[in-house]
């Protein structure tokens, strides 16, 4: 997501006319040629721009262009030793981890309550927990800026943590809730019938059922916080910047392949992250929950 955000800024990338797939790679789309073709176009639209950035990152020249002038790893070295980026990287990671943990602490019990019990005003509570998805982040950011930073003099990090946590709660509630909704609602009753007290039911049945949901909610929350621009932009301070914001700052000042190199590094990290997630939980489990 960071990569795409950054890409939007330089409008210099010309639409490449060669983007239509050459005949030789015409795939075997089985019995659904139209759907298959649409899927391929979809993937192209998503992936091809990213490939341009990755290619540009390996440039030996001084400007962001395609095709790169020559091959070099020097911009990676530059990005990795560029202090503002590295400081911001650590800040972003800290913020994302803490906000994710807080969102799960609030969101998982909320999801449990919403899925497994009925109470007056349930619809309202559900709406409340999901509302940060709908309220524009700029509005949330501005409100937090006014009340916390300008009003109460709260530290930047605290204000950012509050904002990001609020932003992530809907994901935590939705994804864990979905994983619970997919499970048979009678398994807990079955456990009680077999002799388990409520606490034992929770530890031996509910929690294991929630685990994939929690893992996927954590992954999704982390990525969402890590990539967030609007909130971080409004709440950043002089001493605390998140990585997307400092990349945005950088690209406004200078336009060289270092930004592409940094984006590529993040992309690589994301792929590793996704790979681990796939190996440990499986994408079907992770995203099966969201689609419900």
């Amino acid at each position: 997501m960071t990569i795409r955000t950054v890409l939007r800024l330089p409008a210099g990338q010309p639409e490449n006319p060669k983007m239509t797939p050459p005949r030789t790679v015409q795939p075997t789309t089985g019995r659904r040629p139209v759907l298959g073709a649409l899927a391929i176009i979809g993937y192209m639209v998503m992936i091809v721009p990213i490939l341009f950035v990755v290619a540009a990152a390996f440039s030996g020249g001084d400007s962001l262009q395609f095709p790169p002038e020559s091959f070099s790893l020097k911009w990676f070295a530059a990005a990795a030793s560029y202090k503002p980026f590295m400081t911001a990287l650590v800040s972003s990671a800290q913020l994302a981890v803490l906000a994710t943990v807080l969102a799960l602490i609030i969101g998982v019990p909320a999801a449990l309550a919403l899925q497994r019990s009925t109470f007056a005003g349930k619809g309202w509570v559900q709406g409340l927990f999901l509302s940060p998805l709908i309220v524009p982040e700029l509005v949330v950011g501005l409100a937090l800026y006014q009340q916390l930073i300008a009003g109460l003099g709260t530290a930047t990090f605290t204000a950012l943590l509050v904002g990001h946590t609020a932003l992530l709660i809907p994901y935590a509630v939705r994804v864990t809730g979905a994983s619970l909704a997919l499970a048979d609602p009678f398994v807990e009753e079955a456990a009680r019938g077999l002799g388990a007290r409520p606490f034992k039911v929770f530890t031996s049945v509910t929690l294991p059922l929630l685990r994939p949901g929690i893992v996927s909610a954590a992954l999704l929350s982390f990525v969402t916080s890590f990539n967030n621009v609007p909130l971080s932009l409004l709440l950043q301070g002089r001493t605390f910047n998140t990585l997307p914001v400092s990349m945005l700052d950088y690209v406004q000042k200078s336009y060289d392949p270092m930004i592409a190199a940094m984006s590529t590094l993040i992309l690589a990290a994301t792929i590793v992250f996704a790979f681990i997630a796939e190996r440990t939980v499986g994408f079907a489990t992770i995203f099966g929950g969201i689609n419900k």
Binding site: A183, D184, F186, V187, E189, A190, A191, R192, G193, L194, G195, A196, R197, K200, S204, V205, P208, L209, R211
Partner: protein, 338 residues
């Protein structure tokens, strides 16, 4: 007869809906009792109250003679099989079956022995290490059964256990549940909406409607002597009419005799002049719909099932508009209470 569970004046009210309306019910020990009725009749609510998943609004429930009305499910030692099976997806089949034993602190070797026993009883000993997800619906059902049996419950409760299985498997499982019940001498309460299933499996049938018990008795009792029109209809009776002796009586479609207009069946038979309205050929039999007038002069709809190879099909002109006589032999006539 020993009583395993007793319900006394039990009601369950949800808001302004009375799901169970002051029922009194004795569940016989070591027998298979079915709670039978259409959806919304209160049968599942009754089962869940016996299990302890919901508490009666009023009345009391005794299990083995002791008051269990406010006892949580984990303290009742009952085995429940859910319609959806409710297997623990994160545990192997063996761990599912052993779950209740572990909670009862049954030591490892003994536990494994009893898990194996329970799985062998349902014929799944070879699948002990599988995850439930890797099993077919029928196999999952058996695991759920084994899990409930393994704890040696005082009563085994089955909530529409066969409704998610295909027709062939359902027949097979009916026999199997019955076999297990008889081999182990378990007390079983089974909830179903399928009268055929109830007839085939039960020692004792309890017919429910709108939260009330309409009739309780052996399958023969209920089938041959339905107490009222509701039970009769649920047991497949058609043809409700008045005779000079009974304000309401009924006869099964296969027992309604069709003869020519002017003919009479031998002595004592009750004859109704009728006009055929519809014919449906069904292979083994022919369904004949007709309208008739009963002894009070009321028009009634009749449904007769005539064997396709019987004399009636060749002797009579079976077509809409044909005038015939519908005759009922005294032995086939079932009088109904008002």
């Amino acid at each position: 007869m020993t009583i395993a569970a007793q319900l006394r004046d039990v009601s369950q009210v949800f808001g302004d809906f009375t799901a169970v309306d002051g029922i009194n019910l004795d569940i016989a020990s070591q027998k298979l009792t079915t709670l039978l009725g259409p959806s919304g009749c209160g049968k599942t609510t009754t089962l869940r109250m016996i299990a302890g998943y919901s508490q009666p609004t009023s009345g009391s429930i005794l299990i083995n003679g002791k008051d269990a009305t406010r006892l949580p499910p984990e303290k009742r030692n009952l085995g429940m099989v859910f319609q959806s099976y409710a297997l623990f997806p994160h545990m192997s089949v063996a761990d599912n079956v052993g779950y209740g034993l572990k909670l009862r602190k049954v030591a490892g070797p003994e536990r494994r022995k009893r898990v194996t026993e329970a799985l062998d009883m349902v014929g799944l000993g070879h699948l002990a290490e599988r995850r439930p997800k890797a099993l077919s619906g029928g196999q999952q059902q058996r695991v759920a059964l084994a899990r409930a049996i393994a704890i040696r419950p005082d009563i085994l409760l089955l909530d529409e256990p066969l409704s998610n299985l295909d027709a062939r498997l359902r027949l097979q499982m009916r026999a199997e549940i019955r076999r297990i019940q008889q081999e182990t001498g378990l007390t079983v309460v089974l909830v179903t909406h399928d009268q055929e299933e109830a007839l085939e499996m039960s020692d004792d049938m309890v017919l429910m409607r709108s939260g009330k018990i309409m009739q309780q008795g052996s399958p023969q009792d209920v089938f041959q002597r339905p107490a009222n029109r509701f039970v009769a209809e649920f047991m497949g009776y058609e043809n409700f009419f008045a005779t000079p002796e009974h304000a309401q009586a009924t006869v099964r479609p296969e027992n309604l005799q069709l003869i020519g207009r002017g003919e009479t069946l031998n002595s004592g038979a009750h004859n109704l002049p009728a006009v055929i309205t519809q014919i449906a050929y069904r292979g083994v039999d022919v369904m004949v719909r007709a309208t008739a007038t009963d002894s009070t002069g009321t028009a009634v709809d009749l449904l007769a099932s005539v064997r396709a190879d019987s004399g009636a099909t060749s002797r009579l002109r079976l077509e809409p508009g044909a005038e015939i006589t519908a005759a009922i032999r005294p032995a086939d006539l079932v009088p109904l209470a008002e």
